[in-house]
Amino acid sequence: MNASEIKSTITGVANPVNTELPLWKQPDATPFVRIENITKKFDDFTAVDNVSLNIYKKELFCLLGGSGSGKSTLLRMLAGFENPTSGRIIIDGVDMEGIQPWNRPINMMFQSYALFPHLSVADNIAFGLKRQGASKHDVKTRVAEMLDMVQLGHLGKRKPHQLSGGQRQRVALARSLVKRPKLLLLDEPLGALDKKLREETQFEIMNLQEDLGVTFVVVTHDQEEAMTLATRIGVMNQGLIVQTDEPHDVYEYPSSRFVAEFIGSVNLFEGFVTEDNVDSVRIESKEAGCPLFVAHGISCAPQQRVHVALRPEKINMTRIKPAQDDNCLKGEIIEIAYMGSLSVYRVRLQSGKEIRVTQPNFARDMGERFTWNEHVFLSWDVDSSVVLTS
């Protein structure tokens, strides 16, 4: 990559500031997909529990959750493979009830790709078009177009088992996009790829989605994947959507302990509110061993038990005591993991609680490095932590 290319990529990333609010922040925008009070029960197990969700046009919405959180069931209900026990799904103004999968304006990319092993790559992609009754000529040009789009133009005649995992993933993507669906569902689209390939493909999927303007709903258990891909993330737990927000907000302002712990790593201090102001709270925590001051107001009862969540990278680690009394802890380094771009430290506080701290490795040689058993001070800004009441 030469200098001009680097520059163009940089400017490409740093888009001119979009003054227009995204659709989900406009109060009067019509959602493209409306999920209204959807419940799905299997015998007496509730897989999806009264979920309501709006997804807007051209969004890349991620449903994030662990296994058994109901995210896949929700996706399968969108595709029409499962019927909701109650509730409605409305896509582009049409109630989907009673509409069979083959009649929905939706396509899905399956977790295992589900490529037809007896058909060639080109025939796999052509399958949907042929069912539509497209003419031979249309099928041919459209398939060639899709193959070019996923950069597999030369492999049309191969059978799926002759392709690598990454190539199969592209074929699956091409096959699910060939019919120009209004909505594309992706079930763990990158799950079967190795790390390096996953990162590359993430960006390809994002670019593709932007170019085509199709609404994507992605199901994943990988929070990193969700963070990079999504316009918004819906975090699911035990059949419920526990938070729906933009990746940044989900990470920085988790609404509950579950979300804070599920996405990224977090240090939690249990304590109770001693000082409740409009725009700040002070929390006494035995675990921390010092007053915690958080610069945002919460609605809580006096003396209520709360948790303060603090991300490891927000912590400043020093040998000399900083000038602040709040948000300043003393501890001893008990473990160090050097990870190249950053180092992860495990620090034991005087209360016995262990804190995870990450520090970026700014320079090659950072002078005297922190070492094992060293006594350090941990401090952070008042707006770096979040109080969680649930």
Binding site: A79, Q100, W102, F116, P117, H118, G128, R131
Partner: protein, 318 residues
């Protein structure tokens, strides 16, 4: 020129040598494992076939065994006479009776194979899609009939299909028919018998092919706009093809030479090569003719089957 042929000869020799060496490298343990099936085939298939083929080239005679020797050694003149009698084959060719029997057998076998497939496919599909808990039981039920003698099971159909049999009585008591149907000693009864007795041979290979199929392929087909019937023919059937071919061959091949079922359930006009063979062998005591019939049947069956196998083998290897 001579150097060229010398080279060819040399290279031929070296490949031969390489092959010999690679054979030598195979350990005795491996060789003995590989040789068991070959030995089995040689002893129980190839050598008996050669014996049958040999008999088919002799003439029938009133003797024990009832045919002439091919080799005749004249002690005085020290002549070794080899007499090959092709008359049996010529007779097979000339008398349309045999040809008709072959065609009729193939027709009956083909029709029954088709119906076995038609009946077996849903059963195999059901078992493959059923819960793990029941799958073992269902498979055991498919194999269960083998615990009773084949002959008995075919005889049981005589009781079911005869004029005063169970089927006729049930149909009459329900008022569907007024007088008993003639089912026994018709081709219909033969079809029933073959479909019934060979059904497990169809179900088992179909099951093993269908069981391997990933359900999400059907969902993918539906997702791409295929109705269930379309996804059945465009996804399920092609993927089950190895099982369909195997099952059809397992039914078709023995059905062509079937003797017991047409003898017990078929009428006198049900012409099947197995019966012809038996009549030739036991009634006419014409062993050479019977052997010729058997040899031709084998060639009839083996050639197309080897072609199919070769083709499907190549496809699987791809």
């Amino acid at each position: 020129m001579s150097s060229l042929s010398g080279n060819v000869w040399l290279s031929g020799f070296s490949t031969w040598k390489a092959r010999f060496i690679s054979l030598r490298n195979i350990s005795w343990g491996r060789l003995s494992v590989i040789s068991v099936p070959y030995l089995w085939l040689a002893v129980f298939f190839f050598i008996p076939f050669l014996v049958v083929f040999k008999i088919s080239l002799s003439e029938s005679a009133i003797a024990v065994p009832p045919y002439t020797d091919l080799l005749d050694f004249d002690m005085e003149e020290a002549y070794l006479n080899i007499k090959l009698n092709l008359g049996n084959y010529l007779y097979l060719w000339e008398d349309s009776f045999y040809f008709d029997a072959y065609i009729s057998s193939i027709k009956i076998a083909a029709v029954s194979t088709f119906f076995t497939l038609l009946v077996g496919f849903p059963i195999a599909y059901l078992i493959a899609r059923s819960d793990d808990k029941y799958r073992g039981i269902l498979l055991a039920l498919v194999i269960l009939p083998f615990w009773t003698s084949f002959l008995l099971r075919v005889y049981a159909w005589v009781g079911l299909l005869k004029k005063q049999g169970l089927v006729n009585e049930v149909l009459m008591s329900m008022g569907i028919i007024n007088e008993p149907l003639t089912m026994l000693q018709t081709d219909f009864a033969v079809y029933i018998g073959i479909v019934y007795t060979y059904l497990p041979f169809m179900i088992l290979p179909l099951y093993s092919a269908l069981e391997k199929m990933d359900i999400s392929l059907l969902e993918a087909a539906e997702d791409l706009g295929a109705r269930p019937i379309q996804s059945f023919f465009m996804v399920t059937v092609p993927l089950a093809m190895p099982g369909i071919i195997a099952g059809c061959m397992l039914v078709f091949i023995p059905a062509v030479g079937e003797y017991v079922i047409p003898a017990l359930l078929g009428g006198s006009d049900t012409l099947m090569i197995g019966r012809v063979l038996w009549d030739e062998f036991s009634l006419n005591r014409d062993w050479p003719m019977a052997s010729a019939v058997a040899t031709v049947m084998l060639v009839f069956l083996v050639l197309p089957i080897m072609l199919i196998r070769n083709k499907s083998g190549k496809e699987e290897g791809m």
